[in-house]
Symmetry: C2
Subunit: 332 residues, 2 copies
């Protein structure tokens, strides 16, 4: 059975939503959770019938959001460090943490190591599209100043993720740029284009709008840019919802209208709510690490656990190693 190590303390709201998310996941999927954190706090949140079913690794150090990610390697008693070590030692198959994302990425990369042929792991996110199917965007923040070969590796990893985890056959892969023509791009994307040209599924440059129209399954970009795209998208969605609320408040007729449209807004919220996805897998490491949002509620943690189980179950890592090998052979 898949074993998932869960950082019970790292989220902004303490262990409560994390323990709840873990219990909710246990009700629907069979896996072995290992909660890492303050044992007495965790036990106080666990219903009686779960106290024997869940392994708890007792530790009190928690890396806080204000700590430097670079110090994480020294914090050997921290929840994230201990959870990563469980994977390193083969006692767990994957980790889920809503704690310090930089620390999680650093520790997972350094302690677990990179997959063969991968220079830099990447953070993956799933973006909502008009078609209802989600598009895979990576890297959304594990790296800045990516080189062309990194973008090519991200593309390959994203393709394997789409195929194995999202079950998309022959996923199309795009390179995020400032225009569709092959002449468009900056120095890095133009060179990445050449590396990816001819790779199965590669359809060339795609633009910012293509992330959401469902025309492309996988989109590769530098992490600095991916972070901006993600934060911009959240900003636009939040601004639109804020403006709608402001306008509604000013008109009784609109309030009535909004009440009748409640279900529509609920569906929309569900579509753009990150809690429905769970977290962001760090792809390219030996093992599995799901980086969850600090503000994760129990639903987000539950879904992050499913992501971890699916990631491990589908063997996406082996797939990546095989595919990267093909690309390297083509290059040489």
């Amino acid at each position: 059975m898949v074993k998932i190590a869960i950082d019970a303390m790292g989220g902004d709201f303490g262990p409560d939503p994390i323990v709840k998310g873990c219990i909710a996941a246990l009700k629907r999927r069979s896996f072995e959770p290992i909660l890492v954190g303050n044992k007495s706090e965790i036990l106080s949140l666990l219903p009686k019938r779960y106290k024997d079913k869940i392994l708890i690794i007792d530790t009190n150090d928690v890396i806080s959001m204000s700590d430097a990610a670079t110090d994480a390697v020294k914090r050997k008693d921290s929840t994230i460090y201990k959870a990563v070590e469980l994977v390193r030692n083969g006692e767990a198959d994957g980790i889920v943490s809503a704690g310090h994302s930089g620390a999680t990425m650093t520790l997972a990369t350094l302690r677990l190591g990179r997959l063969w042929g991968i220079s830099r792991p990447a953070l993956v996110t799933l973006m909502p599209t008009k078609t209802g199917r989600r598009s895979v965007l990576l890297d959304v923040g594990a790296n800045v100043d990516s080189k062309p070969e990194h973008l090519a590796e991200f593309a390959i990893m994203g393709g394997c993720y789409a195929e194995d985890v999202l079950k998309i056959k022959n996923p199309s892969i795009g390179l995020l740029a400032n225009g569709e023509e092959s002449s468009k791009g900056n120095e890095v994307t133009k060179a990445a284009y050449k590396l990816l040209d001819g790779y199965p599924g590669f359809k060339g440059n795609v633009e910012g709008g293509d992330i959401f129209n469902g025309s492309c399954d996988v989109i590769t970009c530098d992490g600095f840019i991916g972070n901006l795209v993600l934060k911009t998208s959240e900003g636009v969605a939040s601004t639109i919802s804020q403006l709608i609320k402001d306008y509604i408040r000013k008109s009784p007729i609109a309030i009535t209208g909004a009440l009748l449209m409640r279900k529509v807004f609920k569906l929309l919220k569900k579509e753009i709510d990150y809690a429905e996805i769970g977290g962001a897998p760090l792809i390219g490491i030996k093992g599995c690490a799901i980086v969850s949002h600090g503000k994760s509620n129990s639903k987000a943690i539950e879904n992050a656990i499913y992501q971890a189980i699916n990631y491990v179950d589908t063997g996406v890592n082996e797939h990546i190693i095989a595919r990267v090998q093909e690309l390297k052979q083509k290059e040489s």
Copy 2:
């Protein structure tokens, strides 16, 4: 009186919305329009009483969207070339074109020249925010692979634009990055941070979401990234509106609700509709060029003309020269 040369033929819908936009602008502001394009076509669209009031420069060549921007310099009879020459020769103060944006930027830069101290002109756009006030984002596509000094120049030009054209006193200026801390950023933004540190109004790094929350008046970034941010924003807004429409269609109650909320959606559309802004000024050239969307309707052209008039009237170019001089003195 301010003279504006208008490319009458370049837009996707031919001269009709452009001539209409020009007439609408004439009804509200006093300026001298010069329409550049096929004279008989333009005349056929002009109401009788305007036939003597509007100067028409007759030419038949139109640079089409599929032409290479680099060929624009050879197309001396094209509408864009002729309109730019009017500014170069002092016969007009600014140009408005909904034609080939690359050609407009190339010709305006090469034929009019750059302002003293400016290495690269930048394309400016105004983004809607939660506060109702718009934020100035630049560069949104005139350059890729910007160097730190370019980002600093964009910041200064954006600040002058906010002060003079948008009448924002002491505008705050942010550097678009993947986190607020000064340690965040890629190589280019980190170096730009150092150049801008201490510049009046500079508040450090801002994130993607800050473009829309109104916390920052001016945001500087590389044009490759600005283009992605802009296209991503349009994509999110269009996806949300599409999803709302899809959901509404499935429920009679929601349809009734949507009817009652018509005014809300209208206000929202107005807020995010680029036609309300007009076009994107190319800032940093000797003169004034407003780059309008190819799909501009008459409202967008009308607003682009106001932008051009305001740009010329406020003397923002002189302001930029003075400010850049201050920065260069600080650097040396």
